[in-house]
């Protein structure tokens, strides 16, 4: 199958690679770029384990072709921490025991990262609805809700500190 050259910025790094048009973004990230944080949990676009951030939106990368990302900015779980400092969502998942096996975690984190930009102070109901595209088999969600709230508070406090 003829390959197509694409240019995509992943976690701030510009990548140029030739891919088959049928290559799913999740496989491009995992196989071509060795960014194996994003996972595959289903084949019907339900689980959200593959969630990455594309141009400011949460996208299930198993339902997106790599060639569609030509010119896009992609953020994966590997790009959340900044110079070794965990992002607030990562720290909060740790502090609130929002993960067990860790398989849904990268997708959850990337989704929470976007949710908290779209809604800086979500209610419990808004968190539950806002994260509903991500399935977890271990946690029963309750601690993930706590983690997202925790992260929201941390981000708001940081913002206030900057403003002051």
């Amino acid at each position: 199958m003829a390959k197509k050259l694409i240019t995509v910025t992943v976690n701030g790094n510009k990548i140029e690679q030739a891919v088959e048009p049928r290559t799913l973004l999740i496989h491009f990230l995992r196989e071509n770029l060795n960014l194996t944080g994003a996972h595959i949990g289903c084949d019907t676009s339900h689980c959200g384990a593959c969630t990455v951030d594309i141009d400011g939106q949460s996208v299930k990368s198993c339902t997106h072709l790599a060639v569609q990302c030509d010119g896009s900015e992609v953020v994966t779980v590997e790009g959340l921490a900044d110079k070794g400092v965990l992002h607030a969502v990562q720290d909060a998942f740790y502090k609130e025991h929002g993960l067990q096996c860790g398989f849904c975690t990268p997708g959850m984190l990337v989704r929470a990262y976007r949710l908290l930009q779209d809604n800086v102070n979500p209610s419990e109901e808004q968190i539950r609805a806002g994260m509903a595209g991500n399935l977890c088999r271990c946690t029963g969600y309750q601690n993930i809700v706590k983690a997202v709230r925790h992260a929201a508070k941390t981000l708001q406090t940081a913002k206030q500190a900057v403003a002051a």
Partner: protein, 800 residues
């Protein structure tokens, strides 16, 4: 080092501390290492051609078109496995399972051929290109019909065999009959009873559906003659032994590694055909072969859970005292019996079915049956069929209460095994270790204002305009976890012990390995906590590893909530061996007798002289630097623990539901779960296990089911239909606990992880049925989804 005792204790982050998880750092940064993350030089990909039909003869498999695709390296069928005698493989249940279908297929989605290609996309193309010609046979789906006289023969390979791995077979589709208890005594109790009740119930076929599916990377090195396989296994040592027996390769030349696993839930205990084929392909091609299944393959072909058709009977006095229990079960095991169980227990620990109650006479019988479905049965937090056992007895106690018009909390109190009766030997011969059921029940009833709930329910029932039906579910269960004593329990002949090896380094950190394998239960954190308290070394510097058969001591793996009961005990015992040696070194260093020393958190001190002490860290250095004369240098120990008994955690669960009379939709208003698993190692981790297990229970009771049509087509085998609740559906959980330690366990700890699943499912059913109990409904089969509950509303004549 002279900080107050509390500070020194806190610094250990040991037993009882809700310390944060050591695993998290890698997982929250995408640096876990799961099977599909593994890349090896020259690695190729395997994909599986599966049967489109449930029961058929294979007339011909056409490989040519697939082999013509550039990048396709090989297509293997049963014919390629026959010379190795690997077209069938043994199962944990003592039966055999087809690796690749030979003369016929026995269930839809069964493995028929494998395609190996340079890329996974090409392997998938290859699977499409393989064409198989079938001659269809009548499919057998209903286990009751399977046992009829003229039923089609499913297992032609067993023709003429009237004896199976578990005794006599009375029909070609009959697998085993297993009985426990005293039938004659139970029959007498029933003939003498003032009251008897009987109820049929079906525990539907569901699937554990871990978010990460099954897969492996098999790598046979033809130069060294060594096989390394990374795989999603909950029992890697057992797999190594099995692979050695099947392949003829010495165990010392086989390395099985379970890396990080994205949830197991019992799904990853058995050996699946995909693993065997990947290993064979790697041996044939001399290069690594990766196999990762899709979700649809996972749900359709790997270990399902439940599928028990149960009939329960209780005998009792009019006052509600239970005098007898009888149970009959038809167990649908699918096409091959690969139900994961200790060898002597084809129905697992189902004979825990007498529950939390002092029942003098009891008997149960389970008949296993073949059908044209995928194999399995034991999985999904079942603790070896305890889910089914608890469901049966808890439903029956409700049925009896309703029959006697007695309150369901009161009837439980009346029949509880009392605190002072422990250790209690049940009519089925289990010796329950400890329990305080009444204390726990009282705590839950008070916390939920049970009386108030009943008053509210009565008011709703009296109001014809109430838009909802209110139901209150209550379950008081006893679990049996920690398989198990080797005199009773073995896996393929290996006693069900477990193990731990701890090595303290010169500078006072330690490496510890166990024969279990976490799939998310945080062993790397909690095991370190046990050692921290035993040895007085901070859990932070105790590195725990599992899963690599070349480094970890032999163990039986993680399932049946056995890690804490068995490996947890081995950890404490290995620590105590180190502790004993450390005491000798301390006595030598302090120039006193061992009798003059006392242990205080992290040090041995001379009695009455606070300033004279040696910390464990000091002692570790001395063990390498200048061991006492006649003593081996170093500081380490191994312990293999054969448990004297199971542990018997228990719980009291209460659920309140509101059912919409117009739509049949059930809303969980409240769910309160009290669990008692004895000494608690890490309350934060336990809470997480409870939340996850309750959510599974909610899924099973309210929506999950795998059904088959008359032709044997599996239905709802993707996430399009198979119900996995999201954040939105999942109720909020309230948790509570009491502490009743296990007297025989070194640290008093019992297993717990499966309790929430085992206990919650009958609680949901209890609540839903309770909503209809005033209308004369005694039982409703799961799942209690809106459509099915709506049907009950119609049948009961409920007007909205």
């Amino acid at each position: 080092m002279n900080s107050p005792l509390n500070d020194r204790k806190a610094a250990l982050m040991g037993m009882g501390d809700s310390r944060l998880r050591k695993e998290d750092a890698r997982f929250i940064q995408g640096k876990g290492n799961y099977v599909d993350d593994i890349k090896m030089p020259d690695m190729v990909y395997m994909d599986i051609v599966r049967s489109p039909v449930a029961h058929a003869r294979i007339k011909k498999i056409n490989k040519e078109a697939a082999l013509a695709i550039p990048g396709v390296l090989a297509v293997l069928t049963a014919d390629d496995l026959k010379p190795l005698k690997l077209h069938w493989m043994p199962t944990l249940a003592g039966d055999v399972q087809a690796v690749l279908a030979d003369e016929k297929v026995h269930f839809q989605m069964q493995e028929v051929a494998v395609v190996i290609a340079t890329e996974r996309y090409i392997a998938a193309d290859g699977v499409e290109a393989v064409s198989v010609e079938y001659e269809e046979l009548t499919a057998v789906i209903d286990p009751f019909k399977a046992l009829e006289k003229g039923a089609p023969v499913l297992r032609e390979d067993l023709a003429g065999k009237t004896e199976g791995a578990h005794g006599k077979r009375y029909h070609h589709n009959h697998i085993f009959t297993w009985e426990a208890g005293d039938k004659a005594k139970a029959d007498v109790a029933f003939s003498a009873a003032e009251v008897t009740v009987k109820q049929d119930m079906f525990y539907p076929r569901v699937h554990p559906c871990p978010l990460e599916t099954c897969g492996c990377v098999a790598s046979f090195d033809p130069v060294r003659g060594e096989l390394t396989t990374f795989m999603t296994s909950q029992a890697p040592h057992v797999v190594r032994t099995v692979v050695s027996l099947l392949s003829g390769i010495a165990e010392s030349k086989i390395r099985i590694v379970s890396p990080d696993i994205g949830g197991g839930f019992g799904n990853k205990v058995p050996v699946y055909p995909g693993y065997v084929c990947a290993i064979v392909a790697s041996i044939v091609l001399g290069r690594p072969v990766k196999w990762i299944e899709d979700r649809v393959e996972n749900i359709s072909s790997t270990g399902f859970a439940r599928d028990y058709h149960m009939t329960g009977e209780l005998a009792a006095t009019k006052a509600g005292k239970i005098t007898g229990l009888r149970v009959n079960v038809i167990a649908d095991h699918g096409a091959f019996d690969s139900c994961a169980d200790p060898t002597k227990f084809p129905a697992g620990m189902f004979h825990i079915v007498s529950g939390s109650y002092d029942i003098p006479a009891a008997y149960c019988r389970v008949d296993g049956v073949y059908t044209n479905k995928a194999p399995g049965g034991v999985a999904y937090r079942c603790s070896f069929r305890v889910t089914e056992a608890v469901y049966l007895i808890e439903r029956m106690v409700d049925v009896l209460a309703q029959d006697l018009k007695m309150d369901k909390a009161e009837i439980r109190s009346k029949n509880f095994i009392r605190k002072e009766q422990f250790p209690y030997t049940s009519a089925f011969g289990f010796e329950y270790d400890s329990g305080d059921y009444q204390g726990a029940l009282d705590k839950v009833l008070n916390a939920c204002d049970y009386k108030g709930l009943r008053v509210e329910q009565a008011a709703k029932r009296a109001d014809p305009n109430s838009p909802t039906l209110m139901g209150i579910g209550l379950v008081s269960f006893t679990e049996v976890v920690g398989a198990g004593p080797s005199k009773m329990c073995d896996i393929l002949g290996v006693g069900m012990f477990d193990s731990c090896e701890i090595r303290v380094h010169p500078t006072g950190s330690a490496i510890a390995r166990m024969g279990t394998i976490s799939t998310g239960q945080a062993h790397q954190t909690t095991y370190a906590q046990i050692i921290a308290t035993e040895l007085g070394l901070p859990s932070e510097v105790i590195q725990v590893e599992e899963g690599d058969t070349s480094t970890a001591p032999y163990g039986l793996g993680t399932y049946g909530s056995r890690s804490t009961p068995v490996a947890g005990a081995a950890i404490a015992m290995a620590s105590r061996k180190i502790h004993a040696k450390a005491k000798k070194i301390a006595a030598h260093l302090l120039e006193v007798s061992e009798n003059d020393l006392e242990w205080e958190i992290d040090r041995f001190k001379v009695k009455g002289q606070d300033a004279k002490f040696k910390t464990m860290k000091d002692i570790a250095w001395a063990a390498y630097n200048k061991p006492p004369a006649g003593m081996e240098p170093g500081l380490e120990a191994v312990h293999y623990y054969d448990p004297p008994n199971f542990t018997f955690p228990f719980g009291i669960y209460l659920c309140v539901v509101d059912i919409d009379k117009a739509t049949g939709e059930t809303k969980i208003r409240r769910f309160y779960a009290l669990d008692d698993c004895g000494t608690r190692i890490n309350p934060m981790i336990i809470e997480g296990q409870i939340h996850g297990g309750l959510t599974e229970g909610f899924a099973v009771a309210m929506g999950q089911q795998l059904t088959f049509d008359a032709q044997g087509n599996i239905q709802g085998n993707t996430l399009m239909d198979y119900f996995l609740p999201t954040f939105v559906e999942t109720p909020k959980w309230e948790t509570d606990f009491t502490v009743t330690p296990s007297p025989h366990h070194p640290i008093g700890a019992k297993g717990v992880a499966e309790s929430p699943h085992v206990g919650s499912i009958p609680t949901f059913t209890s609540a839903v049925v309770d909503a209809f109990s005033h209308l004369g409904v005694a039982h409703m089969n799961m799942p209690h989804n809106a459509f099915r509950v709506w049907q009950q509303l119609q049948a009961s004549g409920v007007k909205s």
